[in-house]
């Protein structure tokens, strides 16, 4: 990014960090240095130990052995406060903000002695506005955090670190939840920070970002550091291979015969949900043997569209047709029973029940039907067999079907969800951000499965913010913006730039999104 920083002094030194959880070694004698003004990308599969390492560095976990030194001084283990005062700032994978307080209050939290009679709001606001200006982090200090978008929340997290004069910024998968535009803004901010002498470690599964932003790459595999290299001296494919330990090729898209319309929305509208718009007179057809890509910045009505098709809400206006007929009762159960597979956006909150084991999670949508239950009595054997089948067929890495799913990595959780919906051989698959946060291996696997379903004649709706993913997989692409849906564009009929125009909200004639 800002040129190499070979001569710059070392600001952070990790020395033989080892951490075990029971029998598992999450970090195995990991050492590396971070220099002033340098950006290091930390790479690795899901569960490779990246977050663990960063939590140790920040003092939230205590390492079994090894040490962390910041500006030459060894940090006391297990003490976030010491890390903060030494100049380490961390943006967690899951944000640590209090929704009931304002941006300013979240930032000021913990920066002053607790027993002070009051705090200087005006001064704090002044300081925040300065930082906002210097780093290009637009956010209103007096907004309630609960009302912010994901991107804004992340900026608040970064501001929290900067407000404390952090010299080292750690970002754990910062772009996993950002829109492309927000990702660009984030990188712009990081560039400014580096120019001002800060050093950065960031974790990402998106290799093009790694190539674009970092100076150096550190790769972890199974808790061990397997490679450390200058970014300039490597490429995406090499990195992918280093991470997984084997070569990974993107799945090939074979031609498939287009079938009949499986599900269709005609002139459907739904009410707005708080800040997120509902659907506005949407027309959509999903045919067999097709992947329909839905491009768009998150929060533009994707959730509403997914929920309408998935049975969670019924259209306020317009009709939904399944196989040409309007279904009598539209509910998640009706959708599932009718052969619709749903892969939700948030696997932790809506996709699984973290404290249920794999077996119980596997039958979450099917428990009410034979063979999993009869007349209200569960057949646990059938459920276990089903879970075993998914574990084997979909390569879910876990100790066994009795493991609580909470203990699985995101990628393996996602594979279980994939398995549970695909095992019923659905003819419609709704996939909302199915590869978010997944490592390249898992991501490729999910894509392969979607393509395979298409190959056997299923229709797939793929919702994603990643335009590259959409362009690579989709037969037809729609763009969604503020609840309006663009016409469907055939594969290859639009360039990235042309779609970008639609993404920015242009091209939707007032009320005539049915212009397909």
């Amino acid at each position: 990014m800002a040129g190499t920083a070979h001569k710059a002094p070392v600001v952070l030194r990790l020395d033989r960090i080892t951490k075990t959880f029971g029998a598992l070694t999450a970090n195995d004698a990991i050492s590396f240095d971070l220099r002033e003004g340098e950006v290091i990308a930390l790479l690795g599969e899901n569960g490779a130990g990246k977050t663990t390492l960063m939590n140790i560095l920040f003092g939230q976990y205590t390492a079994d052995s090894g040490s962390v030194a910041v500006f030459g001084k060894t940090l006391p283990p297990g003490n976030p406060r010491a890390a903060l005062t030494a100049g380490v700032g961390m943006v967690h994978q899951h944000f640590t903000l209090a929704d009931n307080m304002t941006v300013l209050e979240n930032i000021v939290l913990g920066t002053q002695p607790l027993w002070k009679a009051g705090f200087n709001r005006a001064g704090a606001r002044q300081r925040i506005l300065e930082l906002v200006g210097a780093y290009g982090l637009s956010v209103d200090p007096d907004a309630l955090v609960g009302s912010l978008t994901v991107g804004e929340r992340q900026r608040v997290e970064i501001l929290k670190a900067l407000y404390r004069d952090a010299r080292i910024l750690i970002l754990d998968e910062p772009t996993a939840v950002l829109t492309p535009q927000e990702t660009d803004d984030l990188f712009a901010t990081l560039r400014k920070a580096v120019a001002l002498g800060l050093s950065v470690i960031f974790i990402s599964h998106k290799l093009h970002e790694v190539m674009a932003v970092s100076d150096r790459v550190v790769v972890l595999r199974h808790g061990r550091l397997v490679a450390e290299t200058e970014t300039a001296a490597t490429d995406k494919y090499t990195l992918a291979e280093l991470m997984v330990g084997a070569r990974i090729d993107p799945p090939a898209v074979q031609a498939a015969p287009v079938g009949r319309v499986l599900i269709e929305l005609e002139n459907v509208s739904t009410p707005d949900r708080g800040a997120a718009p509902g659907l506005k007179s949407v027309h959509l057809k999903i045919r067999g043997g097709q992947i329909v890509g839905l491009a768009g910045v998150s929060g533009n009505g994707q959730a509403a569209l997914f929920d309408v098709l998935g049975g969670l809400i019924t259209p306020a206006r317009g009709v939904l047709r399944r196989d040409g007929a309007v279904p009598g009762r539209w509910s998640p159960r009706a959708a599932v029973a009718g052969g619709i597979a749903r892969i939700p956006e948030d696997r932790h909150k809506t996709g699984t029940i973290p404290d249920f084991n794999l077996t119980e999670n596997a039958v979450l949508e099917l428990y009410g039907q034979p063979p999993f239950s009869r007349r209200g009595w569960l057949n646990r054997g059938a459920a276990r067999a089903f879970a075993r089948r998914i574990i084997d067929a979909y390569d879910v890495r876990c100790p066994g079907p009795e493991t609580r799913i909470r203990l699985l990595s995101g990628g393996n959780m996602q594979k279980l969800i994939l398995g549970r919906v695909l095992e019923t051989v659905p003819d419609v698959i709704l996939a909302n951000q199915p590869v978010r946060g997944l490592d390249i291996g898992a991501l490729t696997y999910v894509h392969e499965q979607l393509l395979a379903a298409r190959g056997r004649g299923a229709g797939v709706l793929l919702i994603s913010e990643d335009l590259d993913e959409i362009m690579a997989l989709s037969d037809v692409i729609h763009v969604i913006s503020e609840g309006r849906l663009s016409p469907g564009f055939e594969r290859g009929s639009k360039t990235t730039a042309e779609l970008g125009v639609w993404l920015a909200g242009h091209g939707f004639g007032e009320g005539d999104s049915d212009a397909a």
Binding site: R81, T85, T96, N100, N106, L109, T111, W115, F119
Partner: protein, 314 residues
């Protein structure tokens, strides 16, 4: 007298504020605990302890304010026990709370019986007397209603303001509110969630004990078994009613007390002669439930209420 006359009289509002005072203390205490993320069902027992400790101090020769101090300390002690079990050890707040209520109540009765084995009529102390505020107490209606109360009532009102200021205007208050909303946010800023929660539960329990002490040192002048009589449970409702805000909780307490004062008076109207007295006693509870239905849409529950926080575990 008809209801309108009652509602317009200063003595009615004076009674409402008297009845509200112990509730204000204890509800504020519960509010502090819950804002930090801990449901404190020990409230009923801690009020009993406060009632006894304060009264006993004065009875054995201490000053009234010394009694107030001892009551708070005793409450904080049980708060500490509650906090140690629920915060670092993360035990169920339901069980610990009810256990503390049982323990505190039984220990109090046990101590009372040991201290005063031979008494068949509980001894009295010289309790707090009404202290009219100069000038202000001469305001019509408001004067006799609000400014002719005992010092403890003024303290209760003062505490509402103090707690509001602390919660919304100080670093400590920020940390406290954050601990009840998202403890990870507190930990990530280098503060100890455990220390904040323990502190909050102790402080809150101290206030609950004050609420109990009000009963024996201001509302009345001797200690009786079972005299707290469910007031603690009411306070839990008041906190929800007040959407976890001190000001609204105060209003809730006064409203509840006003219903109570009103039912006593309405019982003597012709209406009262026809209806069973239980209907009147039910009124404050039923109206509270009704009020909750009306209020609930806007209520903001602390997101981490009843969720223990253990770093390194999930």
């Amino acid at each position: 007298m008809d209801i309108v006359d009652i509602l317009l009289s200063a003595s009615f509002w004076a009674a409402a504020i008297r009845i509200a005072s112990p509730l204000i203390f204890a509800a504020l205490g519960e509010l502090i605990c819950e804002r930090a993320g801990v449901l404190n069902l020990g409230i009923e027992g801690i009020m009993v302890v406060g009632a006894f400790a304060g009264w006993m101090t004065v009875y054995s020769g201490g000053g009234l304010w010394a009694g107030v101090g001892v009551a708070m300390l005793a409450g904080m002690l049980f708060g500490l026990l509650h906090a140690v079990l629920t915060v670092p050890f993360g035990l169920s707040q339901h069980v610990v709370g009810l256990g503390i209520t049982m323990l505190a109540t039984a220990l109090t009765y046990f101590s009372y019986r040991l201290a005063l084995p031979e008494v068949t009529s509980p001894p009295k102390i010289e309790a707090f007397q009404p202290l009219p505020v100069p000038v202000l107490s001469d305001i019509p209606v408001l004067g006799p209603a609000v400014f002719s109360q005992t010092p403890l009532t003024y303290l209760a009102f003062g505490l509402v303001i103090a707690v509001s200021v602390i919660l919304y205007r100080t670093p400590l208050g920020l940390a406290l509110r954050a601990a009840g909303e998202n403890p990870a946010a507190v930990a990530a800023q280098g503060l100890s969630v455990g220390a904040i929660r323990i502190g909050a539960v102790m402080a809150g329990s101290g206030l609950m004990a004050l609420g109990g002490a009000f009963l024996t040192m201001s509302a009345f002048n001797s200690f009786f078994f079972e005299m707290v009589n469910g007031r603690g449970w009411i306070c839990i409702a008041l906190v929800v009613f007040g959407s976890w805000r001190p000001g609204k909780t105060l209003i809730g307490a006064i409203l509840f007390a006003a219903f109570d004062a009103l039912q006593v008076r309405v019982q003597q109207t012709p209406l009262g002669a026809d209806l069973p007295y239980q209907i009147f006693l039910m009124m404050p509870y039923l109206l509270s439930i009704l009020a909750l239905v009306v209020m609930s849409r806007r209520a903001q529950v602390p997101a981490a209420l009843m969720v223990p926080f253990n770093k390194g575990e999930r």
